[in-house]
Symmetry: C2
Amino acid sequence: MTKLDDLHQSGDSSWLIAPDPTAPGLTRTVSGQDETGAEVAASVVEERPLTIWLNGREIVTAMTIGDYPEYLALGFLANQRMLRPEDEVTGVDHDAELATVVVRTATETDHEAKLARRIRTSGCAVGTVFGDMMEGLEGLVLPPAELRTSWLYRLSHVINRTPSLYLEAGAIHGTVLCREDRPLVYMEDVGRHNAVDKIAGWMRAERVTGEDKILYTTGRLTSEMVIKCALMGIPVLASRSGFTAWGVEIARQVGLTLVGRLRGRRFLCLSGGERLVRDTDPRTVAEEEKRHRRKGAE
Amino acid sequence: MTKLDDLHQSGDSSWLIAPDPTAPGLTRTVSGQDETGAEVAASVVEERPLTIWLNGREIVTAMTIGDYPEYLALGFLANQRMLRPEDEVTGVDHDAELATVVVRTATETDHEAKLARRIRTSGCAVGTVFGDMMEGLEGLVLPPAELRTSWLYRLSHVINRTPSLYLEAGAIHGTVLCREDRPLVYMEDVGRHNAVDKIAGWMRAERVTGEDKILYTTGRLTSEMVIKCALMGIPVLASRSGFTAWGVEIARQVGLTLVGRLRGRRFLCLSGGERLVRDTDPRTVAEEEKRHRRKGAE
């Protein structure tokens, strides 16, 4: 059994992409008063509209913090199955002034035509898109991936201590793509689905596959989060937050290992418990420090 | 100055609608394992699709916990300005089997026709709907409402101690309509916007106006939350969670008092601080107990 002390000693996590809480444009200092009446300058996250186009069609306006707009657009379209693995992307153009990203493909796909038709019949893309996502789960079974509890504790430990907008300004969600005990890519956004979509966009752009990965999120394990993770081909989803019943049901259906309420030594596994390798004694793991509970995107 | 001890003594909050965490169908018991490997039965919230129709048109599919579907539909349509105050609602029919709510009005409105046209041109209602909501803010100035800090502390105290799905199962958002120091209607849902929409639906059905109310939410003070509150005519929005910059900007524009990070004695007021009446010494207010921080819909 590994003791968490060993984990604590290895500080090098070699991020491929880590948050940059000091990047200009992601936060703004706003003046106000605290409970004592004292004037305070609070750091709050930005939130701006970004409209995503696929070829000649406006698809959605997302509210986003504004970083990695190209990954957000690519990942959104991939996770909504409007962009399939076989589609050749010929351009991803971000126009900061117009607040748009246009994704161009070599040929207009069936999916795009199908989408156009469905939007007209169903009134709004939300239901349609959700239906398309569910459709993508049919027959999908994720590879049976082992998950060591030492990885969970190590990931949670490193992620909670990595400087981030979450720690800096709160009111934001984070999603981290990991492999074994190593966190690789950490994306944040005002919407938790955007953070996941940015990861999906990065994976698509870098041709990274999901079968040996773990997805960590600060957000809840809802049906939509579970579906996105499954469509990304990632067999493990972990969160410091809780579950919904449908999220658990879908995870069990596709063979996804689902770990929630991961805080300090505690966690709850509601799907795939038989694939957990318990190589760490939880009594050797520290309770979560108070400061990691303070902020967050509730 | 009121001391919080006085507040603590008055336990009667006379809810008009309080959460019913024991209601059948809102939670499900799911088996899993905790960090020690022990089999546990966890209570998790339900999450189901509900499709909202306006007359003959399918508008949106919302993911909801499932209670108060009629209020959710009415409030969603009102907050999206698809249903205007002058529209006469002739029926609100929930079909549990089909998971639909159909809202019927006496006459098809201009807004409905406009919506149909816009969806076809813009590809998805999300951007359109957001545009319509912003349009509704033009020229809107909320009445300058006084906000006593004793009300804030009292509301936060009572709401945190009221039995709820939030305390029972976590992974859920709550929104509470209040007047002065009295919480009136407490709605919960997996999506924080649904919880607010249910409040808006209740207000519309009961012909209750917003000018003397306070809206409390467990969720973040994003632009959409601030816009909904302003469109509901409620001049004060308070949250235990944080802010986004655009949320603050819109609140200042419409004269909405915005209080965030309200936990125990602490809070931060980023809009409308001049309308705060500081009638409670924060040093007499207890720090938030740990158990109120544990769960939540992050």
